[in-house]
């Protein structure tokens, strides 16, 4: 561990403050709690909110996994992992099943999370109503009074224009029959995993200084209409590496002729699946 830093970089008072906010967030599922966010040694938009949440709850026994778009080996994921290695001297892993703490940007692992795990989402924009109502004062009222008609109007407009809801990521959910929540820019494929998840889900937004949470075993419902029910993405292809038909697939172009291939976005899942099938 690098000396000169407190464990997990933040000072103890800050961590305590953030933990108090996390507890509040857990008590009011889906509600965005303002918190006194600190400056972190990286720019907004690179996971400062998620890092502060992780730093506040990480312990010496924790095994950390960090993913970016499902991959453990991307620059952003690797540098966050290295950061925590330096300031906590903890173990890290690529294996979802081995991790006790997972920080993520834009995906939920395919492997089902369990009650001994916590997943921390990096949040670029915590307010699901922001695009519909620019004024913060008004969006707070809309949440407080549960006036969510506008959210469904958005879906109405998409069905009217395109025949179906075309939003495929950051697809809004209703948490615990109460607050409309932004699931962060995960594909809507991952939304059903949030429902009744055994693991605690924490969300940190650095720039907007908000923390919200979904406690274990909480109902999370993707917004829809009775006669246009929510649906996840499906593919005709399977993963060209491991053959999976159940995972979220990324489309990649593999030659100059524009030939396409599909591979699992979750690299750990793909590897394990390949080993299992050998």
């Amino acid at each position: 561990m690098k000396t000169g830093f407190n464990f997990a970089y933040l000072d103890e008072a800050t961590k305590r403050m953030i933990r108090r906010k996390i507890l509040k967030a857990v008590c009011i599922p889906g509600y965005q709690c303002p918190f006194g966010g600190r400056e972190m040694p990286l720019a907004y938009g690179w996971g400062t909110g998620g890092i502060q949440v992780t730093a506040s709850i990480i312990g010496k026994q924790d095994i950390l996994k960090v993913i970016d778009q499902g991959a453990d080996d991307t620059t952003n994921a690797v540098s966050i992992k290295n950061f925590f290695k330096r300031v906590c001297n903890i173990m890290t892993t690529d294996r979802t099943a081995e991790a006790s703490l997972i920080q993520t940007r834009h995906r939920i692992p395919e492997t089902t999370l369990n009650k001994d795990q916590i997943i921390v989402y990096q949040v670029p924009q915590p307010e699901p109503l922001r695009k519909l109502e620019p004024k913060e004062k008004e969006t707070r009222k809309l949440h407080a009074y549960k006036e969510y008609a506008l959210m469904h109007v958005k879906l109405y407009e998409e069905i009217s224009q395109f025949g179906s809801v075309i939003k495929t990521w950051a697809y809004p959910v209703e948490t615990n029959n109460r607050y409309i929540t932004d699931p962060t820019p995960i594909p809507k494929f991952d939304n059903p995993k949030m429902n009744n998840m055994e693991a605690l889900q924490l969300f940190g937004a650095g720039r907007e200084k908000r923390i919200y949470a979904i406690p274990p075993y909480t109902k999370v419902k993707s917004l829809d209409f009775d006669d246009h029910p929510f649906e996840i993405q499906t593919w005709d292809e399977c993963c060209s590496i491991c053959g999976s038909t159940k995972s979220y697939l990324d489309e990649i172009i593999i030659n100059n002729e524009g030939k396409k291939n599909f591979i699992c976005s979750d690299t750990d899942f793909c590897k394990s699946n390949l080993e299992k099938n050998k």
Binding site: Y145, S160, D226, D227
Partner: protein, 258 residues
């Protein structure tokens, strides 16, 4: 007859600083009634309507309302949440400028859907069909349901605003000079539409206008205002045909009788 009283107003008074807005207003509103408020510019019509519809809180007075559910309530002491909920579904304001009542970033159908979504189940076909139904009811072309408000003429925007408000089957509708900004020929057509609909769905309405032809044509009861106070009130035909107050006499003699 046992017609339900849905609003009771007592000594309603509003001052803008030292400037009198309206003063000592008393009246009762019954279900299905259309109440007109007339008077010259600056007489306090809009101030009164804004007090009644919760847009401003009056300096003094009492408003008791009787909702379909929930019995008699003191409107002025309702929490903000309940007032907003009332405005979003059970009551409705038709603004003079349709842009104040429409969301310009969403389609005509979306505007109607927004209001319905405050009360209805989440069913797309229902929103769609109800939207079309109300557009036709207000004599709009329902094929234009996916167009945005700015692609409509001023008169059509006003029809859309009326569709939106009426679609939730409101208990009381407030209108402040709903045709004020429009061409005379368009005004007449929209008033025709309003008249046929209100009789049809038996809505309760308070409408502000300074047009006595509109009053005669549309309203059951009348408040005549001058300098912030009500100088005369009564059944519309009585007030217009047999005005008692000198100001009302002046007012009625200044228009051509139809």
């Amino acid at each position: 007859m046992n017609i339900k009283k849905i609003m009771h107003v007592e000594n309603l008074t509003h001052f803008y600083g030292n400037q009198i807005g309206c003063k000592g207003i008393n009246f009762d509103l019954y279900k299905g009634e259309i109440l007109g408020i007339v008077g010259e510019s600056g007489s306090g019509k809009s101030t009164l309507l804004k007090c009644l519809s919760g847009e401003i809180s009056p300096s003094a007075g009492k408003i008791n309302i009787s909702l379909d559910q929930g019995g008699v309530k003191d409107f002025l002491s309702l929490p903000e949440q309940e007032k907003r909920q009332l405005m979003r579904s059970m009551w409705g304001i038709v603004h003079q400028n349709p842009r104040d009542g429409l969301n310009l970033r969403i389609s005509a159908g979306g505007n109607i859907a927004e209001r319905l979504l405050n009360v209805s189940e989440k069913n797309y076909s229902f929103l769609r069909n109800t939207g079309k139904y109300w557009m036709e009811k207000t004599e709009m072309d329902s094929d234009r349901i996916d167009e945005f408000p700015l692609s409509f003429s001023g008169g059509m925007q006003q029809r859309l605003q009326i569709s939106k408000i009426l679609s939730s089957n409101p208990q009381i509708v407030f209108m402040d000079e709903p045709t004020g900004g429009l061409d005379v020929s368009v005004q007449a057509k929209i008033l025709d539409t309003i008249k046929s609909i209100v009789r049809d769905i038996n809505v309760t309405m308070i409408i502000v206008t300074h047009d006595l032809a509109v009053v005669r044509f549309l309203t059951d009861k009348l408040l005549v205002m001058k300098d912030g106070i009500v100088v005369e009130t009564g059944l519309t035909d009585r007030v217009l045909d047999d005005p008692q107050h000198s100001y009302t006499q002046l007012l009625t003699s200044s228009i051509l009788q139809v």
